[in-house]
Each structure stands twice: as structure tokens, then as C-alpha cells.
């Protein structure tokens, strides 16, 4: 089923008229493709689909969930986690409290990775973990902390790379047990996070497009990885503004491996790979 530019506009306008969701500034081609997929999964023509959207708010919520993308892994991109482990988090360790926001937490793998890392660095107790997503289904999945095992063997490789190996000293292997953090059940083919990890984060539904800071705190670290790729250039810059305004001084924003800040606001951050730090140098009092 092919979706034209006009079809996409019809969909965007309909959603905007009947709800608070706004897809106007999403990346056009990927949104078109998502809409094609949703139409084909529902076996519906556009007019019929729009009609159902306007009449059935549950169907609308489901559609928003289906349109947005949820891909994540435990310790996805070990290089980024090395940066967190050896540079970013040590620089925050002397603070009384460390506030971390996972913006677009999806099914929670990144949240659990952070919890495990903080535990390994003895910073678990003084950290507050906030996690948000536009999709309440993935938030519920995150709260459960249960993942497929065999399909996700890469998780353990990533875990080893980040927590057992030392990139600065090849050959050094630290003994870190999986069972301290999760239980692997090969019969049921699942990984279940341990309770003390599951109970820690504070979750909230949040739409980066329109909602203000979801929690009444400033953040020392914001992780927003592979989320803004679904937004166009203008919307990305608005979201960067939201992050900037709610970061503490010397706090940092970590983006995905192929994301970068291209707008004027980038001049207020110190950039190192995908890490953007709100440094004093660029923000004189």
C-alpha cells in the first residue's frame, strides 16, 4: 500500500485535530513508511483508517504506539558506555545526588544498563533514574524487566565488553556476575532483571514534541539515543532546547551513535563524540 504526500498530510491533520499528538515535524519518509506499515497491518484503506481513528480513541492510542519505533539493547554501543563509565559518570560522582533522564526509554534495556553500571560504580543509592516514553506499552514492558534470552545473546556480549573488559587495558578481565543483576532462565528462554533494579526507576508517559520537563528536577545526565532520528531538523532543535534548559551546569546529553546537534544551540555545548556537555566555558554566568 503506497502512501502519498497528500495521504500523509491527511493523517497528520486528522491526528492533530482529534488528539494532542502532532506528527507534523517528524522525518517525512520514515513516517510515510510507518503509516504504510500500519495501514497494511490493519488491512485498511486510508479513509476507512482515518474514520476509525476519529471514532475510536483506543485505536488512536494503539496507532500512535505502532507508528513510533522501539529498538533498544542492553548496553547498546559499548563504545558509548565506555565513555559513560570512564568519563561522564566519574565527573558526576562527587555530586550529592545524580539525576538521570532516559528520554525515550522504550522497553527499558538502556535504563537497566545504567542501573547496573551505577551499581558497579557504587553510585546506585545516590542516583535518581527517570524514564519516559510516548508509548505506555513499552513503559509497562520496562517495568516488568523481562527480555527474551536466545534472541538477545548480544546483550551478554555487550555486558562483558562494558563491565568485564577494560578498553584501556586489553586482556584485563574483571569478574562481574550476571546473577547479581538478572536471572537467566534457559528453559523459559527469558532474562529477568532483579527486583532491586526493577524498583528503582520513576516512569512517566511523555511526548518530547509537546510536553515540558516531565519531572521537577534538573538533570545531570540525559540519554536520548535513536529517538530524535524520527524528528526533522526543526523539531530536533526544539527538543535540544528542552534538554538544554533542564540540564545542570556541566551536565551532559548523550545522543545515539549517528545523531548530532546541527542547529545554533550546539554552540552552547562542548561536544565530544555523541556527548554534549553544558559547560561553563560556553555559558558564562
Amino acid at each position: 500500500m503506497t502512501v502519498t504526500e497528500q495521504d500523509l498530510q491527511v493523517f497528520i491533520n486528522a491526528v492533530k485535530n482529534i488528539s494532542a499528538y502532532d506528527f507534523t515535524e517528524y522525518s517525512e519518509k520514515s513516517l510515510m513508511r510507518r503509516l504504510e506499515k500500519v495501514l497494511s497491518d490493519n488491512q485498511m484503506e486510508l479513509h476507512e483508517f482515518i474514520k476509525k481513528l476519529t471514532q475510536d480513541s483506543i485505536f488512536l492510542e494503539k496507532t500512535v504506539k505502532d507508528i513510533t519505533v522501539n529498538t533498544t539493547e542492553l548496553f547498546r554501543d559499548p563504545v558509548a558506555w565506555h565513555m559513560l563509565k570512564y568519563q561522564v559518570i566519574p565527573a558526576l560522582s562527587s555530586r550529592d545526588v545524580i539525576n538521570i533522564w532516559h528520554a525515550g526509554c522504550s522497553t527499558g534495556q538502556e535504563v537497566y544498563s545504567m542501573l547496573i553500571l551505577l551499581c558497579e560504580m557504587n553510585l546506585f543509592d545516590k542516583s535518581n533514574i527517570y524514564a519516559t516514553d510516548i508509548n505506555t506499552d513499552v513503559i509497562e514492558a520496562s517495568k516488568k524487566g523481562i527480555y527474551k534470552y536466545r534472541f538477545n545473546l548480544g546483550y551478554l556480549d555487550n555486558f562483558d565488553k562494558v563491565l568485564k573488559e577494560n578498553p584501556n587495558n586489553p586482556g584485563e578481565i574483571k569478574d562481574v556476575s550476571y546473577s547479581k543483576y538478572f536471572e537467566i532462565n534457559k528453559v523459559k528462554d527469558i532474562i529477568t532483571m532483579n527486583k532491586f533494579l526493577i524498583n528503582k526507576p520513576i516512569y512517566k508517559k511523555h511526548d518530547l514534541v509537546r510536553d515540558p520537563n516531565p519531572f521537577e528536577v534538573v538533570y545531570d545526565l540525559i540519554l536520548c539515543r535513536n529517538v530524535i532520528i524520527y524528528f526533522n531538523y526543526n523539531l530536533q532543535n526544539k527538543v535540544f532546547g528542552l534538554f538544554y534548559n533542564n540540564l545542570s551546569m556541566d551536565g551532559s546529553l548523550l545522543l545515539g551513535m549517528h545523531e548530532s546537534m546541527l542547529g545554533p544551540i550546539s554552540s552552547r555545548f562542548e561536544k565530544k563524540a555523541q556527548l554534549y556537555t553544558k559547560s561553563k566555558k560556553f555559558n558564562p554566568v
Partner: protein, 185 residues
């Protein structure tokens, strides 16, 4: 006027891509998009390997990078690469298509939509059917479609499937592809 070239390849295409990049004129007047399947663990080193031989810069773009002529944009490992109508790259981590991420169909279809008849699509050697619908989209938008001669391909599945699915303008050997691209202005 915007013009662009897009190349899709899978198993058996690496040496062909190396030769094409090595023979492309310097300061090439248009962008070149590369959507190549690679093994999941070959995340690093690929762009470097292509860069060594290439006469134009090869980059794995960031999301929303503005597209410039004379640059080869390689779809990053584990991302789909869209070519957006505002002439920016858009990346995505949505599910693999035809077991592939990047998907050649996604890159070709979005590039065809953006560049319309000003696009040249080329399908090289490969072991699956990804790219066939993408090449058809290029043809449907009035662009030029080229397929590497299956006789020359290490694995013919992808080229043969493209020839069946899309209206193909030229079936070329690697030398003919190089020659064709060298003459474009």
C-alpha cells in the same frame, strides 16, 4: 538541479564498489549513496576500507546531515538510511526489511521520491531480493536503472530479481558502470 546516484549491493558486491569508488572522478558533481548489506559484527572498519581506495570522501552520515555533491554516503551499520525531500539524510532503527538493516529498498524508494527522474539507481551482486522494489521505484519515478550483469556477479539472486521486477535501462559489467558514471555531468 539535483542529481544523485544510489548503489545497492550485498554478497559479492564489495570488490565492485571498491572499483567504482576508485574510478569515480574527483570533485564529482553529485552525491553517491551506498546501501550495502554487511555482517552485523562488521560495524567498524568498513568505511575505512572503502575510503582507502575511493577518489571521493566516503562517510557514514549522521542523521539530518545535509547532502552535498562529491561525497559518498554509506548507510551506517544497523540503521536504515532514508534520503529526505529536504535533501537531508534520515536514519532509522525500525525493524529489518527482507532481514536487512540497512534495507536497499528503503534507501532506493526514498531517494526515488526525493530525486524523481534525476536519480540513477544501480543494483549489484547479492544473495537476496532486497533492492528489487527499490529499483522499481526509481524506474517508476523516471530515473535511470542499471543492474550489474548477472553473468559477472558472484551471486546472482539480487540482480536477477531486480531484472524481473523493475524496468531496467542497462545491464552493465563493472567496467561499463565505471565508464557510465565517469561520463555523467
Amino acid at each position: 538541479m539535483h542529481k544523485a546516484i544510489i548503489i545497492g549491493g550485498s554478497a559479492g558486491s564489495f570488490q565492485v564498489v571498491l572499483r567504482v569508488l576508485g574510478n569515480i572522478p574527483k570533485n564529482y558533481p553529485m552525491p553517491l549513496f551506498l546501501c550495502l548489506h554487511r555482517l552485523k559484527h562488521v560495524r567498524e572498519g568498513f568505511v575505512e576500507a572503502l575510503s582507502i581506495k575511493s577518489s571521493i570522501p566516503v562517510v557514514e552520515p549522521n542523521d539530518k546531515d545535509l547532502i552535498k555533491p562529491g561525497i559518498a554516503y554509506l548507510a551506517p551499520s544497523n540503521y536504515h538510511m532514508y534520503i529526505e525531500p529536504d535533501y537531508r539524510i534520515a536514519l532509522s532503527t525500525e525493524e529489518p526489511v527482507n532481514h536487512s538493516r540497512p534495507s536497499i529498498d528503503i534507501s532506493f524508494t526514498s531517494a526515488a521520491y526525493t530525486y524523481k527522474s534525476d536519480l540513477i539507481g544501480i543494483i549489484l551482486s547479492g544473495a537476496n531480493k532486497d533492492g528489487s522494489l527499490g529499483l522499481k521505484a526509481v524506474a517508476d519515478q523516471g530515473g535511470i536503472t542499471i543492474v550489474q550483469d548477472p553473468i559477472e556477479c558472484q551471486i546472482r539472486t539480487m540482480t536477477e530479481s531486480s531484472i524481473k521486477t523493475a524496468k531496467v535501462d542497462y545491464i552493465f559489467s563493472t567496467d561499463q558502470i565505471i565508464n557510465f558514471l565517469g561520463k555523467l555531468k
